[in-house]
Subunit: 176 residues, 2 copies
């Protein structure tokens, strides 16, 4: 067999199918949008193409809805479930890039004046605070599952970032 490599998108699909049962790509898209999509946006087109790819590899299988639109419904196979468990069981130690366009601008902030840096900092601070409020409104009690607990990192990140940009705004870096 070819060295078929599973991408994060693949595991996303596998995980969703394992959690929510058989789904259409559209349902995947919905589920993703209101959960994991907050910290990892997947283009919806991939949620259509990826299951197709994975069908060929035997990780999922495809059926058709009976009536109506006769949409494709994908479900995870035993092979897929094994691949998912395998992945979930390996504790990744890899770290993501921050890849923040705002931070990239700050990095080149010495090329423009302090006013521009300040405007950037204010805008970023506002955006992070807004997002923070959104996150804080999502759940009321303490997290009820591993899935819900992920919001904790979102909140921590937004708080940290808001504080960082606030400090930049207050105390603009200047080459002496």
């Amino acid at each position: 067999m070819s060295t078929y490599s599973l991408t994060p998108t693949s595991y996303l699909v596998l995980g969703c199918l394992a959690s929510a049962g058989p789904s259409t790509p559209y349902e995947l898209k919905q589920a993703v949008a209101e959960s994991v999509g907050y910290f990892w946006s997947f283009p919806h087109s991939q949620l259509y193409s990826e299951p197709a790819r994975m069908t060929a590899a035997g990780l999922v299988q495809e059926e058709r809805e009976e009536g109506g639109r006769r949409r494709r419904v994908f479900s995870i196979t035993a092979v897929g479930r094994a691949a998912l468990d395998d992945w979930l069981t390996q504790p990744t130690a890899g770290l993501p890039d921050i890849r923040d366009v705002g931070l990239l601008k700050l990095f080149f902030g010495d090329l423009v004046g302090p006013d521009e840096v300040n405007a950037l900092a204010v805008a970023q601070r506002g955006a992070h605070e807004e997002r923070l409020k959104l996150y804080e409104g999502l759940f009321s009690g303490p997290p009820q599952s591993a899935a819900e607990s992920t919001i904790g990192l979102g909140i921590a990140w937004e708080r940290a970032a808001a504080a960082f940009w606030a400090s930049i705004a207050e105390n603009p870096p200047k080459p002496t």
Copy 2:
């Protein structure tokens, strides 16, 4: 004119050329690796191909070294500088995705046991702490420039993430 769109990579190149003066792709690669590369890794191949693309758009210009390897040396043009200033002057309010594979695994943590979640949390915590130490060792005093101040967000992120994973490890989420 065609709608030539500048990507973050383009601005990276422009910014580096504006900051450091005319450079070869190899020098760009070096400069990036030891600075902005910590939070945004650019494949080195792009630092070769992107300036070529940009030359065609008139944003940079290319010369050749006299002796030795006769490497390509790129420098920013007035047009390029204007584009860069324009970009730097617009305060982006956009937020990046976190895109953390570990967090994605946590999101599906309900599909495996608490032991696996715990192992993940421990590994992630360790990785973030290690990275934190690296960052803290980079500069001694307070930041001397906008560029240096970016490390602040790196440190804040690593601290927040390490704390988050520590809390997951201590208090593993369990569906009741």
